[in-house]
């Protein structure tokens, strides 16, 4: 599919506050501090946008048989590509970013809402960490905190699983030392169900962010 930006094996995690605790901007600041306490070096900013689209039906009688929900993801560090996820159909699609212009012309779906994930990224040995907030676009209130751990040396999910878990455990210890009320939590999609292989790709990352997007939306609906 043309030139690929480097894709590291990645786990997308989120901050799960303890019962009764709130997720606030201070929580995010404390998480940045926890990374810095492990000698993580801040290397820059990052941003990921996830969007939910619904069928664009002017006339109910003309409603076409199509997926009731189309989810999209775009990465600022790999801006030439765009990803779609159809959850009911168990499908992840990778396309050039021009696919958005095509979908706009087709007028089959309209954007219902978008969520922006943004924050700082850090380098820590072979690991690259992202920590940031999740907010609905055009809004300021915090929907959640996302944490991403990327590991460079290998790209087989099974091989890096233990390595990632050990790192997350270390990070959790650093967080506990700051007496923060909560823990790092993982929502791991079943990659095989979405026909994704054991070799890690941007499609794996896209699927994880979509799962997190859906999770944060469902949490705010329950609140």
């Amino acid at each position: 599919m043309g030139s690929q930006s480097v894709c590291l094996d990645s786990r997308v995690l989120h901050w799960q506050p303890s019962a009764g605790a709130q997720v606030t901007s201070q929580t995010l600041v404390d998480l940045f501090r926890s990374i810095e306490s492990m000698n993580g070096v801040r290397t820059g900013r990052w941003q990921i946008t996830a969007a939910q689209h619904r069928p664009f039906t002017r006339d109910q009688a003309m409603a076409i048989d199509c997926a009731k929900e189309l989810l999209g993801v775009a990465f600022s560090e790999f801006a030439s590509k765009h990803y779609f996820v159809l959850r009911a159909e168990r499908m992840v699609v990778e396309a050039d970013s021009s696919i958005q212009a095509i979908m706009e012309k087709l007028q089959v779906y309209r954007n219902r809402l978008s969520m922006v994930f943004e924050g700082f990224q850090y380098q820590l040995g072979d690991f690259q960490l992202k920590a940031g907030r999740a907010v609905l676009s055009q809004a300021e209130n915090l929907r959640g905190i996302v944490l991403e751990v990327e590991y460079s040396p290998v790209s087989s999910i099974e091989k890096t699983r233990q390595m990632m878990q050990e790192f997350v455990d270390l990070w959790q210890e650093a967080i506990s030392a700051q007496s923060m009320s909560g823990r790092i939590s993982l929502l791991e999609p079943n990659f095989a169900e979405y026909a994704l292989s054991d070799t890690y790709t941007w499609q794996h990352t896209a699927l994880q962010y979509i799962f997190l997007f859906a999770y944060f939306l469902s949490q705010s609906q329950r609140a």
């Binding site: 043309g2 159909e89 499908m91």
Partner: protein, 219 residues
């Protein structure tokens, strides 16, 4: 956007056209084998203003899928007087589940075909692509290996160049000027303005091929 002219050539003269293009394009020849699936919405009523095509480039490994949205042609008196068609076009490469994706978002296959032939890509003032292909029908759905030419004795010649709203008025003459070089063998015109085959193509082809043979013998 893109600018397009098209024409047809008898299959017996394709070799001569290849020789002519080699000379004009300095040998940048590529194989073309494209499975083309034309999609339409499941509930399409009235005339369709735009087209959605899914193309699978079978000449490459791994195969590359591209979706192409072809918008309406430029309109107006000025556009009608242009010797080439100027139309809006947006393309995107996609993962190989592209067809399943479009079925899921409410599209179905209208028809499919195989384009089999060759292309030359080269740079003059603008990048120009010439494709010479046999358009083949598939007797059963996706049966690429059983494809047969729709018109066994006739092949399609297309000359295209990408353009923008700012430069199409320069790209069109560039394509027309290039098309003139091919006029001994093929009449190129706007799609829809059928110009027929060149009646003197046999003579031109014979001349080209004999000149090419003489050059080869000298080398």
């Amino acid at each position: 956007m893109e600018c397009v002219v098209q024409g047809i050539i008898e299959a017996q003269h394709v070799e001569a056209l290849d020789v002519l293009l080699q000379g004009l394009c300095e040998g940048q020849r590529e194989a073309v084998k494209t499975h083309e699936i034309c999609l339409k919405k499941s509930l399409e009523t009235g005339t369709v203003a735009s087209e959605l095509h899914l193309l699978c480039d079978l000449s490459k490994r791994p195969q590359i899928w591209t979706v192409k949205h072809i918008g309406g042609a430029m309109r107006g008196t000025g556009a009608e007087q242009l010797p080439a068609l100027v139309r809006n076009i947006v393309e995107s490469k996609m993962s190989n589940n592209a067809l399943r994706f479009f079925y899921a978002v409410g599209y179905k296959m209208d028809y499919e075909l195989l384009r089999d032939g060759f292309a030359y890509r080269f740079q003059r003032a603008f990048p120009i692509t010439v494709t010479v292909t046999s358009v083949c029908r598939l007797p059963k759905q996706h049966s690429i290996d059983e494809a047969t030419p729709v018109t066994p004795n006739i092949q399609l010649v297309e000359v295209t160049a990408p353009a923008t709203a700012d430069n199409f008025s320069d790209v069109v003459p560039a394509i027309s000027s290039f098309a003139e070089h091919l006029s001994p063998l093929v009449n190129l015109s706007k799609p829809g303005s059928f110009a027929g085959i060149v009646s003197t193509a046999s003579t031109a082809a014979a001349s080209l091929l004999s000149r090419s043979d003489r050059l080869e013998h000298r080398v």
